[in-house]
């Protein structure tokens, strides 16, 4: 079962399209990293999913319910933490927890106490007096003790130092050990979520570029270094899966985004018959940089 499903989801601000027919599927139990550059449409997508914005087209289903009809029953199972969220900053941390608690029948006070201690938050300090990192931890703290089925995090690590980020992640892991849940986490930096996520999706200019398990993604991307021999390589009409193809003397370098044993053997024998061809695994960050660059190259002629 999928916790989140969108079909042809669109959202327009005036004449500007923020989302273009977005199709997205997030399976139950996954930790989904929703990656995209600033302005790609991540926050808009999340706001539509949370029914903070209405879509102008298409449909989004969250926990099996049309996002426009999300009610208290669904929200009791959803945690939401956003870098832009306005917390009631006049409250102390304790007052925030006291205020939130009655709205959730499944609130676990033991877990609350445990997380409060783990996050090292001063319970009697006003939220407006907290640092940014502590404020994000307070927001997370108010979203975990009821063990949500779905935790939505919008750029939660933005501006956080590594120490706070680790605490943040440990807090989430604390809950994930005790119940099955789904985390949907957006970020503009893959490094922030690489260690956490098992699935990843890339959004660009309001369109979903891909969404798949990280293992599968890393399995199909290879940086290929070719040292040419005497035979001239066949570089005309490269396959659509090749990105960043460049030649420097007797070296050819490209990224194969559809790498498999069969395809490798095929082009090694067909295009580089007398060459030393070495495919190397890529890091997730490299994959995203490559994809971002290739997108720019595709767009550039139209904008030129």
């Amino acid at each position: 079962m999928n916790v989140i499903e969108t079909h042809q989801l669109s959202r327009r601000y005036g004449k500007a399209d923020a989302l273009h027919g977005l199709d997205l599927t997030v399976p139950t139990g996954s930790i989904f990293a929703f990656i995209g550059a600033n302005g790609a449409g991540k926050t808009t997508t999340i706001k539509v999913l949370m029914n903070l914005l209405e879509p102008t087209g298409g449909i989004a289903r969250v926990l099996g319910v049309d996002s426009r009809k999300l009610g208290p029953r669904q929200r009791e199972k959803i945690g939401y933490v956003s870098e832009n969220q306005k917390l009631p900053d006049w409250m102390t941390v304790r007052q925030l927890l006291d205020y939130c608690r009655p709205f959730y029948p499944t609130w676990d006070r033991d877990l609350e106490a445990k997380l409060l201690k783990q996050f090292e938050l001063p319970p009697d300090r006003r939220i407006r007096q907290l640092s940014r990192g502590m404020m994000m931890k307070a927001a997370l703290l108010s979203s975990l003790p009821y063990r949500p089925k779905l935790l939505v995090l919008d750029e939660p690590f933005s501006g956080l130092d590594p120490l706070v980020r680790d605490e943040f992640v440990r807090g989430m892991l604390e809950v994930s050990q005790q119940s099955e849940w789904t985390i949907f986490i957006s970020s503009h930096d893959i490094n922030e979520v690489e260690q956490l996520a098992d699935r990843v999706g890339l959004i660009d200019a309001g369109r979903m570029q891909f969404a798949e398990p990280i293992d599968a993604l890393m399995g199909r991307f290879r940086r290929v270094d070719v040292t040419l021999g005497n035979a001239e390589p066949r570089l005309e009409s490269p396959p659509p899966g090749w990105l960043e193809v460049e030649r420097m003397g007797n070296h050819v370098r490209f990224v194969d985004s559809q790498f498999s044993g069969e395809s490798f053997e095929s082009y090694r024998s067909g295009r580089f018959p007398d060459a030393d061809v070495v495919p190397a695994p890529m890091k997730l960050r490299e994959i995203f940089v490559t994809l971002a660059k290739s997108r720019r190259v595709q767009v550039a002629p139209a904008g030129a």
Binding site: K47, K86, P88
Partner: protein, 406 residues
């Protein structure tokens, strides 16, 4: 319901210091009124001005700001307010806010009760006074709610209020432009029906905007609705020429029978006599403001023709009970009379004062009512003078001035 109260308690906690300030201000207003009742208005002008400012500006401004304070923590404009991300429906939040707003509207009356009781108000006076105070805060809330629900923060609320004030000024200028300068008198029933219609339009618009914001968060739609309502109010004030429907008028008339409120002058009023002038400084029951009624026939030229009613008259029947009635005839002239017969006071067009004023029937009659007084005339005040030296006199037919002017 418990979750609704939970939100109410949260808001009370947040606003506790502002509410406390308001309570202190309300209590202060009544304290000032008590002091006013013992002071000579002519010798304490600055005090009276300060008291007036306190009661008519400071307290309403706090009451107005409190409405935004209620909304400020849970904005209902489009966005990701904290409450929208929690299991709180718009309906529940609206219920909580409406509940607390209702409690806040009742608060001034609740605080005033001990003061009123201290001034010997009877049940009728308590009811009348409570309704007046409640009505004042309801009107303030009706003005504030639309601006509060379309504002995402306190700063925007202030900005929107200022924009609203400028818009009202613009509408007023438009009204003057379209209505022309000719002083065409508008019959009272038409004025009344216009007033009720405008109130109904605004209540509807404010309610619809609030519902739209709490359930749909579509601020532009609410703004459009309010602007439309403002123009509808302008249209009504320009072109609505029907009076109150007969059936409604009959009902209104029944409800609007003059309620004459008695205030025992001795309870808090200060009565002084200087020659032919009786000055009664008292606190009227509709709220804690002071009324100063100065009834004089001290003009030497007129004293001969005027009844010597202010002289001691121990032989007058029922000397222990006299009533001073002040009434407004047509919005410009004023008459005053003292009578022993309360039945006579149930005449049409009886009005009473709701503000501090000094009224000299000789000087001010028949067509020279101070302009700042007219807006406050809205009923009848009946000052019951018991056992004091305000003897029976009648000023309904004031003497002509020496210069021949009426």
């Amino acid at each position: 319901m418990s979750l609704t109260w939970h939100i109410v308690r949260k808001d009370i906690t947040r606003l506790r210091w502002v509410i406390l300030l308001w309570v202190v201000a309300l209590a202060g207003e009544m304290t000032l009124a008590s002091l006013q009742a013992t002071l000579d208005v002519e010798g304490h002008t600055l005090f009276y001005m300060a008291a007036w400012t306190f009661g008519n500006v400071f307290i309403p401004v706090i009451g107005y700001g409190l409405v935004m304070g209620l909304q400020d923590d849970d904005p209902v404009t489009e966005g990701d307010s904290f409450w929208m991300t929690r299991p709180i429906t718009g309906g529940r939040l609206l219920s909580a806010k409406a509940l607390l707003l209702a409690l806040l509207c009742l608060l001034p009356a609740v605080i005033s009760v001990p003061f009123w009781l201290g001034h010997d108000f009877g049940l009728g006076a308590l009811r009348q006074s409570s309704l007046h105070v409640l009505w004042r805060q309801v009107l303030i809330s009706l003005l504030a709610v639309p601006f509060a629900v379309i504002s995402s923060s306190g700063a925007k609320f202030v900005t929107n209020t200022l924009v609203g004030m400028v818009a009202v000024l613009g509408l007023w200028l438009l009204y003057r432009l379209v209505a022309g300068g000719g002083p065409t008198p508008i019959p009272d029933p038409v004025l009344v029906s216009r007033g009720w219609l405008i109130l109904a339009i605004w209540v509807f618009a404010a309610g619809a905007a609030a519902l739209n914001q709490y359930y749909r968060h579509r601020t532009r739609r609410s703004v459009a609705l309010l602007v439309t309502a403002a123009f509808a109010c302008l249209a009504v004030s320009l072109w609505w020429d029907r009076g109150v429907p007969a059936a409604l008028a009959a009902g209104t008339a029944r409800r609007a029978e003059p309620v004459l409120i008695e205030v025992a002058a001795r309870a808090g009023a200060h009565i002084s006599r200087d020659g032919h002038t009786v000055r009664i400084i008292s606190v009227i029951p509709d709220f804690s403001r002071t009324i100063v009624l100065e009834v004089s026939e001290s003009e030497p030229e007129s004293s001969a023709t005027y009844p010597a009613s202010l002289s001691e008259n121990p032989d007058a029947p029922h000397p222990q009970e006299h009533y001073l009635l002040v009434s407004q005839d047509d919005g410009r002239a004023m008459t005053a009379e003292v009578t022993r017969n309360p039945e006579e006071l149930h005449a049409d067009r009886v009005r009473y004062f709701r503000s501090t004023l000094v009224f000299n029937p000789y000087r001010d009659l028949p067509g020279n009512v101070p302009s700042n007084m007219a807006p406050w005339i809205a009923g009848a005040v009946l000052v019951k003078v018991e056992g004091r030296d305000a003897a029976l006199f009648r000023l309904a037919d004031p003497p002509a001035r020496k210069d021949g002017k009426p």
